[in-house]
Every structure is written in structure tokens, then in C-alpha cells.
């Protein structure tokens, strides 16, 4: 699965000790501080025409998060994001499972899907808007387009990698097909499927925001492009900050869940 190799897969290393945990959070804090310092340096170089200082951006971001107007945009972004996650999860796991079970089809299709993954999906943006029109449906479609491929690939490999011994013992114990599916196959495949979902969920967020940036009249991405068009520097910095922090927190939480699932097996 080297085409998605840029996402670290998790290996079941032992849990770090308390002291190590403390050291880790301290290091993480230092990294965060380094980013703020870097930002301040850029601010000193670029000046207030180019970007806002960390302090200004944080204040504007908090003010934005307090306004009802902005929450309307957040709601739009979130509903598009939610729909794309549901659609891509259902379709992706289904397709992945089918491809995993049918060996020949999987062998034929896998490199094609992996190749599709390395194509700039922004190229399909005009096509998506022409098909779905401007609005939430094209946001959802673009989100799904960005996120579904890793879900398919990971599910496929998860289904293929179920140890034959598990399925054999299921047969020995005389489990029915549904019992095998729900108490053997799914639990065995879930950690890897979740890794796919984690990447897919982040992809969907990127897709939805990108789509809002060029082809929408609502949403956080639209707000960002609007601020760019009007050249409101503090707003640009604040919205960028909100989006980055949200994406980072979401991804961090999913990463933790992913680690936990891998530890359980």
C-alpha cells in the first residue's frame, strides 16, 4: 500500500511510561510554541499588509466564533462534511469488501484506483460543478471524491489480510455466515478499515473546504475566499487558523482512536 505511504501506519508498540508521556506533552508544547514564533517572524517580515500577528488572529478567530453569522457558515460546512463522510464510508467499505473478496477483480482494479489517488483531484472540480451545480451537493461529491479512495484500498487489504486461521476456526465451530461476518471477519478487519476511514475523513474535510473555496456561496471556505477577495488580512489569518486547528484536532483524535484499536488486537 505504498501509494498512501505518506500516512504513518501504526504499529503496536508498548505504551510509553508516565514520565515519557510527560516528556512527550512537553515536546509537543515546544513544537506548538515554535510554530507561534515562526508565525511571528513571518509577521515581522511580511508586515500587517500580508498577515495578522498570532495574537490578532486568535482574537479575531474568537470574535468570529462568537458571531451567529459565522456559525451559519460552520453549519453549512459541517453538514456537507457529515454527508460526505457517511456516503464515502458506506460506499467505500462496501466496494472495498467486494474487491477484497473477489481476488481477480481486486488485482485488476487496485492499481487503477491507486493511480487515481495520485491525480490532482482539483482537475475534476469543473466536472463536479457541471454535474451537481453550485451548492451543497457538489461539496458533498467533492468531499467523497477526496476521501473514498483510501477507504476502498484499506478495506480491501483488511479483508484480504484476515488470517485464514480465523475463518477456519469459525468453520470448525460451525458458525453461520452472518455469525462469521459479525463476530470474526469484521472485528479482525476493523482496525485497518478504521485507518482507511481516518484518512478518508480528513480527505473529505479537505475536499469540502476546497469546493467551498471556488464553487459555493456559503461555508467556511467561501468565507476565506471572500476575505481574500476583499483583502481583509485579519480575517484571512483568523479563518486559516480556525481551519488548521480544527483539522489538526480532528486528525489527532482519530489518530488516538486508531492507535487504541490497533492496541486491542
Amino acid at each position: 500500500m505504498n501509494i498512501i505511504g505518506n500516512f504513518n501506519t501504526i504499529d503496536g508498540a508498548a505504551r510509553p511510561s508516565m514520565w515519557k508521556q510527560h516528556q512527550r506533552s512537553f515536546d509537543l508544547l515546544m513544537i506548538a510554541a515554535a510554530f507561534v514564533v515562526l508565525w511571528q517572524v513571518f509577521f515581522q517580515i511580511g508586515g500587517s499588509v500580508a498577515l495578522a500577528s498570532p495574537w490578532q488572529a486568535t482574537r479575531t478567530a474568537i470574535a468570529m466564533l462568537g458571531s451567529a453569522d459565522f456559525w451559519g457558515d460552520i453549519r453549512t460546512t459541517f453538514s456537507a462534511f457529515g454527508f460526505s463522510v457517511v456516503i464515502e464510508a458506506v460506499l467505500g467499505i462496501l466496494l472495498g469488501a467486494i474487491l477484497g473478496l473477489r481476488r481477480l477483480t481486486g488485482d485488476v482494479v487496485e492499481p487503477m484506483i491507486a493511480g487515481l489517488y495520485s491525480i490532482p483531484k482539483l482537475m475534476f472540480f469543473p466536472m463536479i460543478t457541471l454535474f451537481f451545480g453550485i451548492g451543497i451537493s457538489s461539496e458533498v461529491a467533492f468531499g467523497v471524491l477526496h476521501g473514498i479512495i483510501p477507504i476502498i484500498l484499506f478495506t480491501m487489504s483488511a479483508v484480504r489480510n484476515i488470517k485464514p486461521v480465523y475463518l477456519k476456526s469459525a468453520r470448525t465451530m460451525g458458525l453461520s455466515t452472518t455469525q462469521t461476518l459479525f463476530s470474526i471477519a469484521l472485528p479482525a478487519a476493523i482496525p485497518e478499515i478504521f485507518t482507511g476511514l481516518r484518512i478518508g475523513i480528513s480527505g473529505a474535510l479537505i475536499g469540502v473546504i476546497l469546493c467551498e473555496m471556488f464553487g459555493s456561496s456559503k461555508g467556511v471556505g467561501f468565507r476565506l475566499m471572500n476575505a481574500v477577495a476583499n483583502n481583509v488580512v485579519t480575517d484571512i489569518s483568523a479563518i486559516t487558523l480556525i481551519l488548521i486547528v480544527f483539522a489538526a484536532v480532528l486528525s489527532g483524535v482519530l489518530m488516538k482512536l486508531d492507535e487504541r484499536l490497533h492496541h486491542r488486537i
Binding site: N2, I3, G5, N6, F7, N8, R24, D27, L28, M30, I31, I45, G46, A50, L51, D107, V108, V109, P111, M112, G115, Y117, S118, I119, P120, K121, L122, M123, F124, F125, P126, M127, T129, L130, F131, I199, S202, G203, L205, I206, I209, L210, M213, F214, L224, M225, A227, V228, V233, I236, S237, T240, L243, I244, A247, A248, L250, S251, G252, M255
Partner: protein, 249 residues
Amino acid sequence: MTLGRIRLLVVVLCIIALEIVCRTGLIDSYTLIPPSKMAVALFHLLRDGSLTPEIVATLGAVLIAIVGAVIFGILGAVILHALPRLRRAIDPVLSIYYSIPMFVFYPLFIALFGLTDTPKVLLGFLLAVVTMIASTLNGLDRVPKVMRKTARVFRLSKWSTVREVILPSAAPHIFNGVKLAIAQAFVGVLGAEFILSTGGLGYQIFYAFHDFDNNKMYAIVLLVLIIVSIVNTILLGWERRLRQRRGLA
């Protein structure tokens, strides 16, 4: 080899199906044009030469981004590998990096560097460099201990150990990184051109899209797909040869 043939057949059947769907009017021509028309439009665009400067601009930016990403990626990975504590600290950043929509930084880059080629090259570089770092680190982790020991036995200096033993040993992983970095650089540069720029293939697609010039738009989309597929195929073939020589495949 039969797998490859089946794959080719599937692609050809998909194209034919698309052609039929468009020709019979199931999908109207404002939405999608038949593949044959795309190819003809692309042929005309390539022959009259109006697209050549755009192709050069895009590929040039991608090339600079890739070269930068490869150099800084390998350098960064070697440094991180030498400093385990820094690496542990930066690891979470590396692992969530690709879930952050980097394109939201593009407006900031434009504000900082102006509407030149720098922002799009920088975006391509930033997307490509981290996958390069991750792959190189992965390769450095897998250098067999015995090789490092042998280098010590031969009393190689630190620099020649890295150059003559460690990097060649990690080469397959580094190559995989280059492959991913190239894909990411294309995504970054074309995306940046698409958002806001003064030239390049992404810009031309955006322009044609806003002009409702579907022939031109789909022709350039097709061109991008062809370029990316050709690059992918070459790299895959090259990688297979590299792995075979190592006895890995």
C-alpha cells in the same frame, strides 16, 4: 501480464461507454463532452502551440518543487534520524500533516510573495517535502545494523558512511518517497494555479471553465491526466527494476 491486458481492456471499455453516453445525449454537452472530441480539441491546441508556454510554466514549477522537496526531504530526514528526541516531538506533526488542507495557506503565500510563481512552487514543495521526509526516515530505520558496523570496521568517516552505505541502502524507500513527492507536487502546483495565478495548465482550466469553453477545458484536463499517467507509469517501471535488482520483488 494478462492482468495488464485486462486492465487495458477495462480502461478502453470505460472510454467507449463514456463516448456512447455522451453521443446519445444521456449526458448533455454542457456537462461532459465525448472523449473523442476532447482528444481532437487537445490535438488542435497542441498543434497551434498556444498551450506550449502553459505546459512549460506548470512543468517547470513542478520540477523546482520536486527538486527542492527531494533535497530538503533527504536532508531533513537525515537530521531527524540523528536527533531522536526532536524526531519524537515532530512525529505527531508529520502524521497529521496531510490531513491539513494546505491550500488554505495559499492566500497567505500570495500576500507574502505577491502573485508570482513563488507561491505555487512553495505550495507544491510543502506538499511534497513531508512525504519525502517520512519515506526517507522509513528507509533509514531499515538500514541493517550489520551495514553500519561494516562501515565502522572500514573506518569510513561519518559523511562517507551516509553517502556510500546508508543512502544506497535506503534507496528503495527514498525512491518511493520521490514517487509520492512527484504526485504531491503536481497536486500542489496545479491546485495553486487553479485557485489564483497568472498562467499554467491549472489556470487555463479555470479560465476555460469560467468561459464555458468546455472543449478547451476538457482537452486540458485530458492533457493533465495523460501527463500524470505517463509520469506514474515511468516511475512504476523504474521502481520495479530497482527492486528487482535488489531482489525485493
